[in-house]
Point group: C2
């Protein structure tokens, strides 16, 4: 197996640990990168910890692929301490040019010239940011979206003096982090996404100010309507379809005239008077006040995870970013296997995860099909362990399950942690007889799954011999597992009297 360590950097520094800075911290830490943080806020540690807790919960559910090792987090008392040895320095301080420029000046006093500096600014042009720098070529904007640890998009914008190398390195780092970098071709205030967001925001403020709609009305108009469309196709692709069979040009002909209609207030900008702020805040309290901010974050995160997973199954949009990321995780894990870190003299831990909310049913517990999903994932992990890689599947074959027996011994509910221990019961030519035991994290048995798998050629879709190497690897494990006792229930048929 190809052992790769594609980690592009070992250490990053984060200057400013607010919502965006803490989101970067989570994404970096969860991808095996050490992070040093400087934030003068005395509450910074507590706030960062809260974001990391959210991110931890989201990542537990995001993918069943083996996660990367956790980087080390350290909070420093000075900017100078934080940036020592950092190959990437992420600035996430307030949106004021003079504050940001002062931060860069301090960074440049001690950071090596080859450390990349990115700004998380939502709108200030990188040429302005880098205007007073000694080595401006290594500064660019890397504008992420909240929650940074989940949303793939990051706009990369270079200024007049930014080097191509700095942009390319940042692009590689973002790809390693599972993000979708978008290189913005021309520098403008607010780049691309925030231009669009700001236009909606201004229009929405008018709708609230004029009493046309409440914050709830506006949010509903979005999330029951075009927001669903935009999670998977953007503005233009959606409209291309809306034109019917004639496509984009028909759409433009049909809706072009409305451009001259008074369908927007945007020739003007609403003033955020105390009265308007009060109206928005109280409508927002009425709409969302039943949940704390922390609870809303949790709801948002699990929704985003579910949406991205749904799109992953459809091989589309943000689901492709998740698929790429998952592929990286599997590659890392396969690379690790050759080091024989797994003790094959015992039943092997093949799954460890949290039960997501969407796995439960009207009986208030994990649905029976999700037990088999755990076993399917566990069988996949066993396959990888004996050398059934994507390359092997493409060229030689795979294992198909032909028979399954499940005992449901105890219930488990959303949010609980579970793991699977897997054991080879027998191996003979094309046949592989597996048994999985599903446990609650407290160690009590929830269920067993017994499975007969047959090696199959994906070209002929019929039974075939596994490669000698796969067979040998599996046999070595089977020999060790033959010394273990069989889990209770192996060989049972449905309804058999219990002994």
């Amino acid at each position: 197996m190809n052992k790769t360590n594609n980690k592009p950097i070992a250490k990053a520094a984060i200057v400013g640990g607010g919502v965006i800075g803490a989101g970067w911290i989570a994404r970096l830490l969860f991808n095996a990168i050490d992070v040093a943080v400087y934030d003068p806020d005395p509450e910074a540690e507590r706030k960062i910890k809260a974001v990391l807790d959210n991110a931890e919960r989201a990542y537990t559910q995001l993918t069943s692929a083996p996660r990367r090792a956790m980087g080390n987090l350290s909070l420093k008392n000075s900017l100078n301490d934080a940036i020592q040895g950092a190959q990437l320095i992420v600035e996430s301080v307030p949106e004021q040019l003079d504050i940001k420029q002062a931060v860069y000046a301090e960074i440049e006093q001690s950071a090596p010239d080859d450390a990349i500096i990115t700004s998380s600014t939502s709108g200030i042009m990188p040429s302005d940011l880098q205007a007073k720098m000694r080595a401006p070529q290594r500064l660019l904007v890397a504008h992420p979206f909240n929650p940074v640890y989940l949303l793939p998009m990051v706009e990369l914008v270079g200024g007049k003096h930014t080097s191509d190398a700095a942009i390319e390195q940042t692009e590689a780092i973002c790809q390693y982090l599972g993000m979708k970098p978008l290189r913005v071709k021309k520098e403008i205030d607010a780049f691309i996404a925030d231009r669009l967001l700001e236009s909606v925001w201004r229009e929405a403020l008018w709708l609230v100010k004029d009493g046309v709609a409440t914050t709830q009305d506006i949010d509903d108009a979005i999330r029951f309507g075009f927001g669903l469309r935009w999670a998977q196709m953007g503005l233009f692709e959606t409209y291309r379809i809306a034109g019917g069979e004639a496509g984009m040009s028909h759409f433009l002909a049909q809706f072009g005239p409305t451009l001259s209609w008074p369908w927007t207030h945007l020739m003007d900008v609403p003033e955020l008077t105390d009265e308007l702020v009060e109206r928005i805040s109280s409508q927002s309290d009425e709409q969302s006040g039943a949940y704390s901010i922390r609870e809303l974050e949790g709801i948002r995160d699990i929704n985003l995870v579910s949406i991205m997973q749904a799109l992953q199954q459809n091989e589309w949009g943000a689901g492709l970013s998740l698929a790429d990321y998952e592929q990286q995780l599997y590659t890392d894990a396969s690379a690790g296997i050759s080091e024989a870190e797994i003790d094959t003299s015992q039943a092997i831990e093949t799954v460890r995860r949290r039960v997501p909310g969407e796995w439960t049913d009207y009986n208030g517990h994990m649905n029976e099909s999700r037990y088999l999903q755990c076993y399917s994932d566990a069988s996949d992990a066993m396959m990888r362990l004996i050398g059934v890689s994507s390359e092997y599947i493409a060229n030689t074959g795979s294992y198909f399950t032909v028979e399954t027996h499940i005992q449901n011994i105890d219930e488990v509910t959303a949010g609980e942690n579970i793991y699977v221990h897997s054991q080879i019961l027998a191996l003979s030519g094309k046949k592989l007889h597996l048994m999985h035991c599903l446990y609650h994290e407290d160690g009590h048995l929830l269920s067993t799954g017994e499975h007969m798998l047959i090696h199959v050629s994906l070209k002929t879709r019929s039974a075939s011999e596994p490669s000698a190497q796969v067979l040998a690897t599996a046999q070595a494990i089977a020999d060790q597992h033959a010394k273990l006792s069989k889990p209770k229930g192996a060989g049972r048929f449905v309804g058999q009297a219990r002994s």
Copy 2:
């Protein structure tokens, strides 16, 4: 069981069968409402058929609940023919006030005064639409979103003369159709959603015109970033969280100042010159031209279905609309059961559906866990059949599966249709022994599932006696099924030699 027939209308007329009109047709037909259509376009029938095909595919995957009967579709040669007997008349003709007013004048010549007339206009005010009507009280705007058969949002806007009764009746119809009606409080051009969309559209046109971004860049900035957020929370709820723990007021204080920054082009409106139209069309071709419009519609629809289903599992946003709709379908179906339409002397069809793309795995076929999902759905259908309703579950108990045996006999791939026949093998007190056979639509056997279920009290979470009525209903079926032969494989254990 409570037999309800909550169908609010029996017949609707659609005037104009374009993308939006055809979307309305699909939503109405699939919910047992007869539809008559008038559209002078000679291609209308073919285009409507294409939309109905898309909608059919989407609805096959949308819910496993039993679908409503299909309404009857008729295409008429005159508006007058189409509106005869219609209780709802939906106008979806081009966005020109004089054309729409002429349509209403013709409608009023023969439609009864109590027929509701809705306009699908994206932006014209209902007071203007109804200005020349004889009975203007029954006209309102019901503005849906493409694809109408999937997206729940519909903005209801009354004009000066619209009666509350007309709005309330339309609201009830939309709820029956599984939609999320939003009553717009004040009449303005473009209502709520299209005000927001128009502001984004104008800004996006500038970005393309100025060469800052391509249509692909803009779409990516949306669908890998804020579009994912907006599928589940809107603008205000998202920003409430973005303010961190301090919430909405902190957010407003933090980002308020950007309102005075030059972050939008919107003081001005771009002109749709031939050059700009050409640029957008060719960029759009480059971005999406690998797929036909028809293919893009299919991709969009399955993505929307998957996203709504994901949100349904999380009990949030548009997922709640789907859950409400599904509940209506189950209620309809339960009501139907008392009429004993199901032949219980044979194995019972409990599932009929298409295999969605997201059910397949790296081996290119339906993942093993989805076989059990079919059986879980089939067991649920059997539960409903013997009287285990939501009310029964809340008050008395439910059945939990304790043991399962699955044979995987043949593969099945995405897009193929499958069905399940279910049979009671044995019944004794708390124990219910079921067997499901999963077939391909061509009739060949794909798999079997054998299951032991135990009746459980959801209060004590331990075994309990079913109600006498449930037991009697189940026993009557069991007695009939005892005469059938046992499916092959019943009683097998994993690895047992085949006979």
